[in-house]
Amino acid sequence: MVADRRAEFEASLIRTAETRGQEAGAALQRASLLRDAVHRFSRNRAAATAAFAFLVLIGFVFITPMVVSASPYDINFENAYLSPSWAHPFGTDEFGRDLFVRTALGGRVSVEIGFAATIAIMFVGIVYGAISGFAGGWLDNALMRFLDALYGLPYLPFAIITLAIFGTPSFWPMVVALTVASWFTTARVMRGQIITLKENDYVRAAHALGARWYRVLFRHLLPNTLGVIIVFVFLELPGVVLGEAFLSFLGLGISPPKASWGTLAQDGYSSYQSHPYIIIVPSLAIAWLILSAFFIADGLRDALDPRTRSY
């Protein structure tokens, strides 16, 4: 699902890289470019609202459990399946546990998994792509051929197989499973970026001045990809969170009493006819996260690439 976005994205990113490559150069200009991007971003109303919404969600997810104390052991069958009310804004589940807090706690898990997996994807993708692009020659060729092979791995089946290998699903197995088949496009884009940036004059100048390869890579090339990386983070995050929800829905999620939005939705699915709110609430939370991340990504991209303005 996110692959499609990347297809569109790839094209625009390469253009962005070219533009930035030409504009960039030394660290001097970077500060003003960044400030410029921030300024443009905040003027984009949709993106700014999305950023605000995102922060609200993160706040809800992390702060609520600290303020409202509720233990997952608080089983009270009398209170089971209460509809949303003042005391229980989202109602209660089958054990009588308050869903408001459970959603927040579940959100913590989902968001943590989401960010961890996204960072893992970024890391693997960047390392792979940077090495391939920077090295060039036969190494680049070999790595890209291998990547082509990996592209053939369908994402969900491999995530499921990975989880099955780990057996009991918990935090790290989930992160690994979500990363396993998702980093390919990142690698490809990074490689494309590095290749394009490599051709720039300032890089040649650096070489000519005697800079070692790692200095060129870390000081000049990678920082110029930072913008792209950040946009990608917000682009990958929805896919990862949705992936985790899917896997949990199929029954492969985090073990209780911990919960994630996906496991909450799975719990809710079996009772959706009589108590629909149990599945609706976590689904809306997921949607909220995805939407806000999406618009942030859009806004960031617009802020970095001056060409997609209205005509």
Binding site: A3, G152, I165, L242, Y272, I279, I286, L291, T308
Partner: protein, 311 residues
């Protein structure tokens, strides 16, 4: 051009071998006995007989060799759980179902998504644009399982008298509408966004301005120039989307009770049916690889620059 195609085709063979190897290795890491279905422990003599029957007592490289030979002769082996069926049988029976579902979902996505994207771009920033994009974005963010659940609840249970939709299964054309909607919804939103984005870009182009300035009829400009050039990103997005539709239909198949390959796949992993899991994974990979190949060739044909960059 021909050399390009041949080169790409030849490369798919080692790619497929690699996919098989990876799947094989990963499956073998999963613990669990395919032959123990209930709590009842399998008596040792029977376990021996079963292992012998399915070559599981041989070392892994011999099993791998058997398997590769099988793939080459299109014999994907017997199912370990469905004792009277082979993997070929399973795929022959269930894959067409998933394919049909995927195609229908794709048709829906194209029929609704592209016009939405086109008109949103043409009427940018109007009420229509905001409404359409609102619908599209919220639809994208809502998880598949929620959409499926809501669709069934309203159209197949509550309003059954009016619509006559069945709640599950795939018999009769009535039964395809809801699952196609549920599955095609996300790609529809993707198409809408991509088409809108690329149309906006194209509309900015100088040659469009020129055509407008020249006084050509707007309809002709849009219909001939803008549309054609905007479709390319949509086409390239279609290939990975098809992969998503097939592999990612698990949840829709599960909820709607459709006997497709996705549902079978999940069951085969939980049942440790090695041959079915490998067979389906290999098949899905082949499809994705072929789809990518087609897109690459298409892209190479449409845009000669990528031939050299990619190869």
């Amino acid at each position: 051009m021909l050399k390009f195609i041949v080169r790409r085709v030849v490369w798919t063979v080692p790619v497929i071998l690699l996919v098989i190897l990876m799947t094989f290795v990963m499956m073998r890491q999963i613990k669990g006995n395919p032959f123990q279905v209930t709590e009842r422990a399998v008596p040792p003599s029977i376990q021996r007989n079963l292992d012998r029957k399915y070559h599981l007592d041989k070392p892994w490289y011999i099993q791998y060799a058997y398997y590769v030979k099988g793939v080459a002769t299109f014999d994907l082996g017997p199912s370990l759980v469905q004792r009277n069926q082979t993997v070929n049988d399973v795929i022959k029976e269930h894959f067409p179902v998933s394919l049909k579902l995927g195609l229908f979902a794709m048709i829906w996505a194209v029929l609704l998504g592209i016009p939405l994207g086109v008109f949103s771009a043409l009427k940018q920033n109007s009420i229509f644009d905001y409404a359409a994009m609102g619908f599209v974005n919220s639809g994208y963010a809502l998880p598949n399982f929620l959409i499926s659940t809501l669709l069934i609840y309203f159209f197949a249970v509550k309003w059954r008298g009016v619509t006559g939709f069945p709640t599950n299964g795939f018999e009769g054309w009535h039964a395809w509408i809801l699952p196609a909607l549920a599955l095609g919804h996300a790609p529809m939103t993707v198409f809408a966004r991509i088409v809108r984005g690329s149309m906006l870009e194209t509309l900015q182009q100088d040659y469009i301005r020129t055509a407008k300035a020249k006084g050509l009829r707007w309809r002709r400009v849009v219909g001939v120039h803008v549309l054609r050039n905007s479709m390319i990103p949509a086409v390239t997005a279609a290939a990975p989307l098809l992969g998503f539709l097939i592999a990612g239909s698990f949840i829709v198949e599960f909820i709607f009770g459709i006997p497709g390959i996705g549902r079978y796949f999940v069951n085969s992993i939980t049942g440790r049916d090695y041959s079915v899991t490998m067979g389906i994974t290999v098949m899905l990979s082949v499809i994705i690889i072929v789809a990518n190949l087609v897109v690459d060739v298409l892209y190479g044909y449409l845009d000669p620059r990528t031939r050299d960059a990619r190869a």
